[in-house]
Amino acid sequence: MSDAIIEFDRVSKIYQSGGGPVTALHDVSLSIADGEFIALIGPSGCGKSTLMRLVGDLEQPSAGGLRVRGKTPHQARLDRDYGIVFQSPVLYEWRSIRKNVELPLEIMGQPGPKRHARADELLRLVGLGDFGDAYPHQLSGGMQQRASIARALSFEPAILLMDEPFGALDEITRERMQLELLGIWDGGDQRTTVIFVTHSIPEAVFLADRVVVMSPRPGRVERVVPIDLPRPRSFETREDPRFFALVTEVREGLREH
């Protein structure tokens, strides 16, 4: 698999806890192609967030091999190969929205005027063009999460890790944000590879190229469902019978274990 950007090879993750070792991930093998949109879905405790965090070198596997762009996750992190979006926006409250988006650029040593322009460009992209000078607490939850996405995209990482980014939003905002995310993802000249963790079945099906269905205790990959819905996807996609069929297929996969 030469075009794989992320390669899991029999990866396991075991936590030590008060009640003895807990296997969060067991023997996971998965390869993700460059430019692919992958959704990880499963009930709480299935290790989907852990899987994503292993890619980000925020945690280390207990066994097995994991390559990110042909490198160790550690090296990939040092090379700033990925941007991350958490469930909560994690904006620094003392920085204006623009300065928040600039944060990674600042740390990577970009000069001021350049990152300023870049931040404004991204804020326009996520529909926050007028809010650069606002502080996080002045924005709604959805707007804060948009800023957080802009921040993750600001340094054009090859990989985007998203850990239930819309989980705290209401259903209506959520569906709008899904469309916007796809718009941004489709819009560029080169598609970023996305790993998107969620526990919403329609969200996973609507967004992804492939949905990875996981099951808990121990966390493992239950099934991989390819989503053959045409792109660009739109509001109407959710009313397509094929959409419902795929939703049903994922749901069945979640029931299986």
Binding site: G83, I84, S88, V90, Y92, W94, R95, S96, P104
Partner: protein, 257 residues
């Protein structure tokens, strides 16, 4: 947030305390006059003001000297507190030892150290008063700032990790801004603590021209109005100190508004 709104807010903010102050003064005055309270017990505000007007320059002068001790002492105490707090973040083992000890030290009546510092640094010299204030302000600053520096949540730190940020960046761009509200909280405590601390330290002996010495001698010979006029000066300087801290805080923590 227009400037007009801002100024009305300010008037609303300041009016009640001013009214209260006037009311309290009137109540005090009528209490002393109505019940014929002997002068040695409690002078009326009018008597205090009259006594103050007899030698305002002298009183303000000794007030300034004592305030100088309070200011220098707080600068030393708060500065050292910040440094040690930063060291505690860097070396967690030091934090495990020092932070609980500092919490306990906040319960120790530091004022009891005054005579000892007098012996070490000279009871007449201002250095011993500065020392008392420095020790007094050191512990609350250490505890508060340490809490502030360790206040960033796991996600905020993971974000920095995802950028492969250097320790220096994590400290300057995350921990320090996050600690600022805590620091100002400590500074407010220190501002109100330090002036009283400097005065009380002088109860144990000090130079002739110092507020605490003056209050103690005048009270000892039952010249209560004289003592009270000196106390008013102490209040004045303490209040100014506190207000200066609040004003700086408003500027520094603009993002909170």
């Amino acid at each position: 947030m227009s400037s007009i709104q801002h100024s009305t807010f300010k008037i609303q903010h300041f009016l009640p305390p001013i009214l209260t102050f006037a009311l309290a003064m009137a109540a005090w005055e009528s209490l002393v006059r109505g019940f014929d309270i002997p002068l040695y017990l409690l002078p009326a505000p009018s008597q205090v003001v009259a006594t103050f007007m007899e030698r305002p320059v002298y009183l303000l002068g000794i007030g300034l000297a004592t305030f100088g001790n309070a200011l220098v002492g707080s600068l030393i105490g708060c500065g050292l507190g910040c440094l040690v707090a930063a060291a505690c973040v860097r070396w967690p083992l030091a934090a495990d030892g020092l932070v609980p000890l500092s919490v306990a030290a906040s319960a120790v009546p530091i004022i009891a150290l005054s005579p000892l510092l007098g012996i070490w640094l000279g009871s007449i010299s201002p250095a011993s008063k500065v020392g008392v204030v420095a020790i007094m302000t050191f512990f609350p600053t250490l505890v508060n700032v340490y809490r502030g520096l360790s206040s960033p949540r796991a996600d905020s730190l993971l974000l920095m990790r995802s950028y492969a940020a250097r320790q220096r960046d994590i400290f300057l761009k995350l921990r320090v801004p996050a600690a600022l509200p805590f620091l100002f909280n400590a500074l407010r405590i220190c501002a109100s603590l330090s002036m009283i601390g400097a005065v009380v330290a002088e109860f144990f002996g000090g130079p002739q021209n110092a507020l605490g010495v003056y209050i103690k001698t005048q009270a000892g010979i039952l010249r209560t109005a004289e003592a009270w006029s000196a106390i008013v000066v102490a209040c004045l300087f303490g209040l100014l100190f506190y207000m200066a801290v609040v004003a700086i805080e408003r500027r520094a923590l603009r993002w909170k508004l």
